[in-house]
Symmetry: C2
Subunit: 365 residues, 2 copies
């Protein structure tokens, strides 16, 4: 299957293998992956947090005029200023967010869009107010069945003009840990992370955490926005109705040991004891149970350090006695539900949810 074969469906875009189109590279330049050495930080420094922006980063010079509107099936429609929202009870949560498309570049054939290899994951401390305080003030009508969240970022996808929008069912939206956040790592949200307000849905892939949040719309029917029912959906075939993408799948990653080559990023490691380390996480608040480290196909359990937050990655470490030569390193996490990372990418038509084990080839000298 090649891009050319699909050109009658979406011109210039499709499934492909091998080399990457200019559009994919332009997206990789615009969006930002976590450099994997930054897995060393419990909390990712803000400028290294991965970033996926569907349209343009809205230019918001100051937050004074920003309003968050709550409308639809509510008793009391609201239009709240940032100052009003900041008077509500506050909460800070450490949350690992992963892009649902992280790892997409390793799914064959590859759907042409942001070509994540493995950098689409990071952890931050988000501060804000539980969304429920706002919803309780507005008071949902009894016939409310879905709640849509609309950002200020606007553009086209697949020919459909839209503000970025996603929805949550009311019971999830009322969960104490779903936040309307105005702060990241202790400072106001940077523009690219949603200034002045964004949603944080811990345990879910990043697409649920709507940035530049401007409007909450309570609906008496399921939200049918593009990002909800067309884009972020697992499908075996393009025509499938499919299953909505939701919580993160269990996954782990390793800090590449040794030193890199600039272009190919090949790693050179000194022989002797080497501490391999990395992070592991799962979705929906499910803790990681074990991480195994693979050296040339032989798996050994790593030491796992619990995270202080149910929503943040765990650190793992393993002392490897590196002998000269070529080696293949890997890590594989299993969560408390018994879910384990697959050895090969699970097939998804658009490359969502790829939680296959990461493999890293190193040269020990």
């Amino acid at each position: 299957m090649t891009a050319a074969h699909d050109s009658n469906i979406r011109p210039g875009r499709g499934h492909t293998e091998g080399d990457f189109a200019r559009e994919e590279v332009a997206l990789a330049n615009r969006n930002s992956g976590l450099p994997l050495e930054a897995l060393r930080y419990d909390v990712t420094p803000a400028g290294m947090h991965f970033l996926l922006v569907h349209f343009d980063v809205p230019f918001v010079a100051a937050a004074d005029d920003w309003r968050l509107d709550v409308a639809g099936c509510v008793q009391r429609p609201l239009s709240l200023s940032l100052a009003q929202i900041q008077k509500l009870p506050q909460k800070t949560l450490r949350v690992t967010l992963e892009c649902a498309g992280n790892g997409r570049a390793n799914v064959v054939p590859r759907w042409q869009t942001q070509p994540w290899d493995c950098g689409g994951v990071s952890t931050a401390e988000w501060s804000g107010t539980p969304l429920r305080h706002i919803l309780e003030r507005a008071e949902l009508a009894s016939h409310a069945v879905d709640i849509a969240f609309h950002g200020a970022d606007r553009g086209f996808d697949a020919g459909r003009e839209q503000f970025y929008g996603r929805s949550l069912p009311p019971d999830l939206a009322m969960h104490e840990d779903v936040l309307i956040a105005w702060s990241m790592n202790g400072v106001p949200l940077p523009p690219q992370h949603g200034f002045p307000l964004r949603l944080i849905v811990p345990g879910w892939y990043g697409m649920a955490s709507v940035k530049w949040l401007r409007r909450i719309e309570v609906l008496d029917r399921p939200f049918d926005g593009y990002q909800q029912v067309d884009n972020y959906v697992y499908r075996r075939e393009r025509e499938d109705k499919g299953t909505p993408v939701s919580t993160m799948r269990v996954k782990s990653m390793m800090v590449p040991p040794g030193i890199p080559d600039w272009y190919a990023r090949n790693r050179t490691v000194e022989a002797g004891p080497v501490e391999l380390t990395g992070r592991a996480w799962s979705g929906g608040g499910v803790p990681v149970a074990t991480v195994a480290v693979g050296v040339d196909g032989v798996w050994t359990e790593a030491v796992l350090e619990r995270s202080p937050s149910p929503y943040a990655w765990f650190r793992w470490r393993y002392l490897w006695n590196a002998s000269p030569g070529e080696h293949v390193l890997a890590c594989r996490a299993t969560d408390a539900n018994g879910e384990t990372q697959p050895l090969d990418p699970p097939w998804d038509c658009f490359g969502f949810g790829n939680n296959a084990v990461q493999r890293l080839r190193v040269t020990v000298r």
Copy 2:
């Protein structure tokens, strides 16, 4: 010319056209381009500042143990702590930095490395001490002819193991505006921008501003490090000795008007008056003289707003009366030395110094 033709010279890497190799995409994911809508900010918010990291971002948990050593042809070798350096006279400068490889993806054939389209430029406020205060304390020997600056970032390039290193001639190093910086936009350097100390060489392409600065080596001969004499050199042919890359060439860029398509980034603009705006800059402290805006090949002079710093980009703006249909927009700067942006990319074997005019196709509705 294709990558395959070059494989006997540097395996798997060479000149190519068209689609991009996985290694190029991996670099685009790791490194970060300025999203062009962020040209609206006089000072780029730190997390949107472009980022090129040759090897890994060094992990520096705290700056307490950091030492900057000054050695070689000096009367008094030094080993300075961050606290000692921060007691020296302080200075803050607003500086536009551009990666020397910015625009490389538009040079045909393209050398395979970080495939910048046009996002490798940004502006920040850097605070530190003029380097000369440290050099005066060390006192250069009379036979000093070059000064090398070594970072803590280490790896291989073209098979050569190295710490990232660059040099400056003594007269430039003693210039009041060459800084040893510890702060970016009013806060300590983020890890990825050189924490705890970096060099800032205003007016030069970014490769001169060595990050994670650890050692200054005063030499009685020209520095022959890889990044100085092999990598950052303008060459017509690969075998040429070439000319060192130094100050930035005159250039301008435009905030893409309207709203984008997610994948292709095509722009849709509403008919009527549209303020086109962007930035223009040159190197070596030379001010921008004029910016012309091109609409379908017809050039008109834009309004230019001077920058408060001789080293920072100027804002320009132009009111365009957009009529429905397809249009090609462009901008073209000329500096006070009379240097003008070329209409097409100047040839360079490795894609350095591409300051060709940016062209943007938009649909007005």
